[in-house]
């Protein structure tokens, strides 16, 4: 138990003297084999390789390719957030929602805008 990280008390400023005491203690309270993490790692590698292969070896036509890639990107993002970023594990999950919304907003904005910007008929590419 001594190695377990103490979660700071909830609330925006609830930080007294107790937390910096445990400032660096890693969270190693998992007695069982981390099946989920290993599966998640394998899956995210697989998705990356499949995406790469689809583009490199022209498995499917361009129109469907873009759709499939976008879908795979979402799965990849969900994997990372859910398994490795501990999205469901921390206390106060509600706090994550505005931050996630902002990230989604900026992420989708960047991709959407980039597609809009690059739509012109370029003489170079």
């Amino acid at each position: 138990m001594d190695n377990q990280q103490q979660l700071p008390p909830p609330g925006p400023t609830g930080h007294g003297d107790e937390v910096e005491v445990r400032i660096l203690t890693p969270h190693i309270a998992q007695p069982h084999f981390p099946t989920m993490q290993v599966t998640g790692y394998g899956l995210s590698l697989a998705i990356t390789l499949i995406a790469f292969a689809m583009v490199a070896y022209h498995w499917i036509g361009l129109d469907t390719l873009v759709t499939v890639l976008v879908v795979m990107a979402f799965i990849q993002g969900a994997l990372q957030l859910g398994i490795f970023m501990h999205l469901r594990e921390a206390k106060g999950t509600l706090w994550h929602l505005p931050v996630l919304a902002l990230a989604l907003f900026i992420g989708i904005g960047i991709v959407g805008f980039s597609m809009w910007i690059m739509l012109f008929k370029s003489g170079v590419s």
Binding site: V19, R22, S114, M118, S125
Partner: protein
């Protein structure tokens, strides 16, 4: 004697003709002598152990801040020498001080060093020095990660800086646009250095962003609500979130270019359906927020400096926070203004032109806030305040010319001319650098315990500012007269000669200003004016309630915050004894232990990067294994904290005169 062909090949790769110029060899010899002298000095004075224990393995944010600051000043020198070389080449028509190739290398290094290895670390230096202290914390949220960030930056900087003497400098500009930066047009290892060094330093930067985001959100002293937080802490919070969103696109752009150059992919190549323009798009998705990453911290610094030296609370705190937030959101929607000429349709260009102009509004709001703070205040002209006063007009001019550039049809004329060069130097030098130097003079006593001499500081500032205007005003007119950026020489008879001459003189004046600043630092170190009060400026925020420099644990007792400008209120209400401790109130404090893991991790990255730069994949794999080993060591090592006992704290605080009587 016949030479082994393998060694011959290696020597050719390490020392191609472009690094065998007499001046470069001269610098190599000078640096080698300096390095030997340093080693001899450290050995003679038996300082190696001290260096290792006190600095290299430290996780203390105050020391990491000092290391960032020294590194940034060294890089300012290096980038400044590059700048003087550029200006010397352009002092008169048809100069051949450097070859065109060397000129390209020098301006590329200048831009890259100044943005990534001078301005960014100086920002982090001040974050580390001030933010934990002003929010009442004992360290950043992740002290070991903080050390990792620093060492990744340091080894990234070393990587870029050795390129000119080993293998050859990058030469494709600080943004390294393809197709020129691709293997086909730019063989050699220079561009690889650029890609790898920014990648390594960039990992550290993202980690710093996460660190300060969490620090500001989670480690504030009790009672310090977000709306009681000093604006500099706000700017650290917002800068960190900008970093978090802006750096990944850069990572992607650099990574894909690396795949192109080293593994024969064709993301941005001319052939094989590559799309060079996608690089410009990705780069500026990063690049525009990056310029705001550089200007937000100075905004925060001025919001501390102006109230302190006007003896008034900041005018319009809420407006200040709101405009910081507005700028951070807007700065994500303007990046196309860096490539209006690429050929996107009028819809795209109008949208981004308008969004760019919108940014000028919240920026203007802040200007008025500072001016109204000074209005009717009792202003003391100290060196930090002097830099602020110099900043106001320069930044107004920079912002106004920015709006001119955002006018799309006009930008077809201005783009990549000296007009644009003058614009961004107005905002980056006149904004970011003036702000950082203001912060340097402001927090210096807190970092080191002694003040910088006032008179020398004034001279450094005045010369720098005069030199600044003399350098960049002519460049606006050069832009109007058609001089484009990155010309390595120009013919006479175009009306450019006199303007270029004065611009170069201005650059030399700035150089003298910088030298006086260095003299100022060294002189003040030798004749220290000790800050015994901890509050030399009669300032307002919590860091000034501590002794200078703060003890290892910062606060013997975490303060309870009741208002904005808490320390000022304490002084007004005669509550300053609250920071003192007694036998009864003191507790033992646990602090993280030093660890060699950060520096070893960064070293492994460095070794691996050298492997990638020269395409020695065995070395790259070795470096990669080193990274994994360092991470594994970091995960499994025992991180029991060290305890600072009550007695030690009582003793330390008693020496500082901070025991309740």
């Amino acid at each position: 004697m016949t030479m082994n062909p393998w060694i011959l090949h290696l020597m050719k790769r390490l020392f191609p003709p472009q690094v065998l110029l007499p001046d470069i060899i001269g610098i190599d010899i000078g640096l080698t002598i300096a390095a030997i002298a340093a080693i001899v000095f450290l050995t003679k004075t038996k300082r190696w152990g001290w260096l290792w224990r006190e600095w290299i393995t430290t996780v203390d944010h105050k020391k990491i801040g000092i290391m960032y600051l020294l590194a940034a000043l060294v890089m300012l020198f290096r980038g400044g020498v590059d700048a003087l070389m550029i200006r010397t080449q352009l002092i008169a028509p048809h100069q051949h001080f450097m070859s065109a190739q060397q000129y390209d290398e020098v301006f590329t290094t200048h831009g890259t060093v100044m943005i990534f290895f001078m301005a960014m670390p100086m920002v982090f230096a001040l974050f580390n020095a001030a933010v934990p202290l002003m929010i009442g914390a004992r360290d950043v949220a992740f002290p070991r990660l903080n050390a990792i960030s620093f060492w990744l930056f340091a080894f990234g900087a070393i990587l870029l800086n050795i390129s000119f003497s080993i293998g050859g400098s990058p030469d494709a500009g600080w943004m390294s646009y393809p197709p020129y930066s691709e293997l086909m047009f730019d063989p050699g290892v220079g561009e690889n250095y650029f890609l790898l060094s920014l990648q390594v330093a960039g990992i550290g930067t993202i980690a710093t962003g996460i660190n300060f985001l969490v620090t500001v959100l989670r480690l504030r002293a009790p009672g310090m609500t977000l709306t009681r937080m000093p604006i500099f802490a706000w700017s650290a919070l917002i800068t960190s979130s900008l970093i978090l969103f802006a750096f990944p696109p850069l990572t992607v752009a650099l990574g894909l270019t690396m795949l192109d150059r080293i593994f024969g992919a064709s993301f941005f190549t001319l052939g094989h359906q590559g799309m060079p323009m996608m690089y410009a798009n990705l780069f500026w998705i990063f690049g525009h927020p990056e310029v705001y990453i550089l200007i937000m911290p100075p905004f925060g610094i001025f919001s501390e400096v102006v109230p302190t030296f006007s003896k008034k609370p900041l005018f319009g705190y809420e407006a200040m926070v709101a405009s910081l937030l507005a700028i951070s959101i807007l700065s994500y929607g303007t990046w196309v203004h860096h490539f209006f000429e690429m050929g996107a349709g009028p819809g795209v260009n109008s949208f981004f032109g308008l969004s760019t102009m919108l940014i000028a509004i919240p920026t203007g709001v802040k200007m008025f806030n500072w001016i109204f703070t000074m209005w009717g205040g009792r202003i003391r002209i100290t060196v930090p305040m002097l830099w602020q006063l110099a900043f106001v007009p320069t930044f107004v001019v920079g912002g106004a010319t920015g709006v001119m550039l955002a006018t799309v049809p006009a930008d077809y004329q201005y783009h990549n001319s000296y007009f644009m060069i003058a614009h961004f130097h107005n905002v980056i030098l006149g904004g970011t650098v003036f702000g950082l130097l203001s912060g340097l003079y402001y927090w210096w006593p807190k970092m080191f315990g002694w003040k910088l001499n006032h008179r020398q500081g004034v001279w450094a500032c005045l010369l720098f500012v005069v030199g600044f205007w003399l350098t960049f005003m002519p460049q606006y007119f050069l832009g109007f007269q058609g001089m484009t950026r990155r010309m390595s020489s120009y013919p006479p008879g175009l009306g450019w000669t006199a303007l270029n001459f004065w611009s170069t003189i201005g650059a030399y004046v700035m150089g003298v200003g910088f030298l006086i600043m260095v003299y100022n630092i060294i002189w003040s170190r030798i004749h220290p004016d000790w800050d015994t009060t901890g509050d030399p400026w009669d300032a307002r925020t919590l860091e000034w309630s501590l002794p200078s420099p703060a003890p290892e644990y910062n606060f013997a007792r975490i303060p309870q915050v009741h208002s904005r400008d808490e320390w000022w209120e304490m002084k007004q209400e005669g509550r300053t004894d609250e920071v003192k401790i007694s036998e009864k109130t003191v507790h033992a404090i646990h602090m993280p232990r030093n660890t060699p893991m950060p520096v070893l991790l960064a070293l492994a990255f460095f070794v691996g990067s050298i492997g990638m730069v020269f395409e020695w994949f065995w070395l790259a794999i070795l470096g990669g294994l080193g990274v994994v080993a360092a991470l594994a060591y970091g995960s499994f090592a025992n991180y029991s904290e060290k305890e600072i006992s009550r007695d030690t704290i009582l003793q330390t605080e008693a020496q500082l005169g901070r025991l309740e009587s």
